[in-house]
Symmetry: C2
DNA sequence: AGATTTAGAGTAAGCGCTTAGATCGACGTA
DNA sequence: TACGTCGATCTAAGCGCTTACTCTAAATCT
């Protein structure tokens, strides 16, 4: 198990009787090198098992070809993993989108999770910023002051960030259209009137966008109302708690509109365990379309959030920003789909996906970027 | 959005009127520096927003303080993400264990996914090995030849690797004890006799260990038999396919014993959609105890695999190996728990976790579990 | 007082790579 | 023959840090 001694460019050069410059050229295949020389060098590289040292490359090129992904971990490791882990499904999916994109370019990905604790997070994030060329930061849990400090050091893209703030590039789902379509479906197709909203963490832009959209639909339908709302943390347990609170009320609402699927699953658990029939006595809907939502009973009606794509686009945007640091901040908002299953009152077995077209709000806030192909050219 | 010019150690040194060595000492707090000097330097660091460049540090220290995690992605991005993503839950959990451990030490984590495709994976993995101090590799999908080449370059720990091979350190769940306990429960508590096994990918050591353990229990119970088995890929869809195959058979087995939960969920879907009653007509059990298993209908009986802990221990082992490259290869096997819910025939609402003690046989293999009071209590 | 230790700080040699600019034949041209 | 040209290759200066070693002056010892 002893490791082979590390092989450097010099070893290869002297063995192949060429200069280090030539070896470097062969490795990168850019400049012209005589075929016979190239062959000899390649042979020595294979023989010696040479692999370039990334630290030296990064130092010399002044570019690390690494990006950092900062995910939110709302869980305490002390909690049962299998309950709380649910709140992580979102970033797992973002991660895969990012990794796939970055991989194709030959860059690498460094990942870290942050919790609520900004005191210990700040130094970690600053130090991370010294290890990467750019940072992808998940939604609002990194405080804006910290984001601002990072932004002045290196390129940053906010994933599921607040489309209203312009501190950095933002990629987000079109929460507004999705939540409005869902609310309208509940009202129009099922005649539901009394809405209860289960909110997300205070600093999660997704949650507030969804809440705002719901409210605007309710305002437009005078016979409808928000009969109440509960706080939540985007996790199954916090959804279950909201469900308990609901059960203690004198009257159930017509529908529990949850800011994400994890909480909807929690609400569903509380309600069905207490013998409440869903959707007959009360409908429950979520947002995001995570896999377990299709598994629960009744299957969850929700809005599809293209989470993986969110990761992919964020990554593309970041690479583009690394290449051109001077562009103005951009917001990219991705289309969602309405996913009708039976927890809203649609008949059992329903499984309809309805693509949604963006509804432009008068504030014109979320304007889609048309930069379809941000070419990674000029980056490599 | 213009970035501040990068601040180097020299900038800090000249601004604070000290040498770079002194600044470096202040940053690392090791050597003695006069308090007044330290204060001045710290002030300049804060003022200038200095963050050390990791590439230069790594080059100079000859250590990157980064480890790589190689996960298996059995999915094709072309498939519906929400179906196939399930097979990834395992590595998501490993990742969290690894990240939490590495983070506490101030190291960083680089993550990459590999698919079946070793031709494009080999160069990627070799190049990754130039960017990290050690590698954590998920189970058997990286071919042994490649693992061997990596091992001679840098420290490697195999996560959920084959405990029988000794090419590198291995961390694995005690699959044998877990699968045996589950099989014995099915036989003893529910009188099931005809077993169907849904296998995992050919190169997944977890799957074969579980199969072996099941077989050894069946051999020890002459009235029991393996009535058949199906191939599978650890994913929900492959489980659903196995379920379809089963439905085409003239006779159903007593129990479908799946090599992991994802496939059990797939089998469950196929079966219940075809109107087969689980567990009344046929029991279905899985392995790993991923969260969605507790959500499905009926809730899945399984074996708890301490996946996150797997990641933590693997990480610890790797760091230890980086410090001491000459140790002989080690195998660490973590205890599992039997998780009884109702898909095995236990009454609805059952939710029992039974910690399992490894039973070591003379050959180092686990021998038959003394059915140390698997109480018929709570079991019809 | 002179010698010796020591705390505090500086000097400079790398770490392994990239790359601008220098070099060097061989070849073509006047 | 003398002189440019050009492709192939080499030389060497960094990149931003760490750290072994050196230096200085003040503290301590004999």
């Amino acid at each position: 198990m002893r490791q082979l001694p590390a092989v450097t460019l010099y070893d290869v050069a002297s063995r192949a009787c060429v200069s280090t410059a030539t070896v470097s050229r062969v490795v990168h295949g850019l400049d012209r090198v005589k075929d016979s020389t190239r062959a000899r060098v390649l042979e020595v590289i294979a023989e010696l098992g040479y692999v370039p040292d990334s630290a030296a490359q990064s130092l010399s090129r002044r570019r690390k070809e690494v990006i950092g992904l900062v995910c939110v971990e709302r869980t305490s490791p002390k909690l049962q993993y299998d309950i709380e882990a649910m709140s992580l499904l979102f970033y797992d999916e973002v991660l895969r989108g990012v990794e796939a994109t970055i991989r194709d370019l030959g860059w690498s990905l460094m990942i870290t999770y942050v919790n609520h604790d900004s005191e210990s997070d700040l130094p970690r994030l600053m130090s991370l910023s010294g290890k990467v060329d750019g940072l992808l930061i998940g939604e609002g849990i990194v405080p804006p002051e910290i984001v601002a400090r990072l932004v002045e050091r290196i390129p940053v893209v906010l994933v599921a960030g607040n489309p209203r703030e312009r501190v950095a590039d933002v990629v987000t789902a079109d929460n507004r259209t999705g939540a409005m379509a869902l609310a309208e479906h509940l009202i129009t197709a099922h005649g539901l009137r009394r809405f209860h909203f289960v909110d997300g963490p205070a600093n999660a832009p997704d949650a507030s966008e969804r809440r705002r959209a719901l409210m605007s639909v309710l305002r437009a339908n005078p016979d409808c109302q928000l009969s109440g709302s509960s706080p939540g943390l985007f996790s199954v347990v916090s959804g279950a708690e909201a469900g308990q609170l609901l059960l203690a009320e004198p009257q159930l609402p017509d529908v529990v509109f949850c800011a994400n699927d994890q909480m909807a699953i929690g609400v569903l658990q509380s309600l069905t365990r207490a013998g409440v029939a869903v959707p007959d006595q009360v409908a429950v809907v979520g947002f995001d379309d995570i896999f377990p939502g299709s598994l629960c009973d009744p299957p969850l009606t929700t809005v599809h959030n293209p989470i993986r794509l969110l990761g992919e686009r964020a990554c593309t945007l970041l690479l583009d920003r690394i290449a051109k640091p001077d562009l103005r901040p951009r917001v990219e908002s991705l289309p969602t789909e309405l996913v009708l299953r039976s927890s809203c009152g649609c008949p059992p077995g329903t499984n309809i996906r309805r693509p949604l077209q963006r509804q432009r709000g008068r504030s014109g806030q979320a304007k889609t970027l048309t930069s379809r192909a941000l070419p990674a050219a000029g980056i490599s």
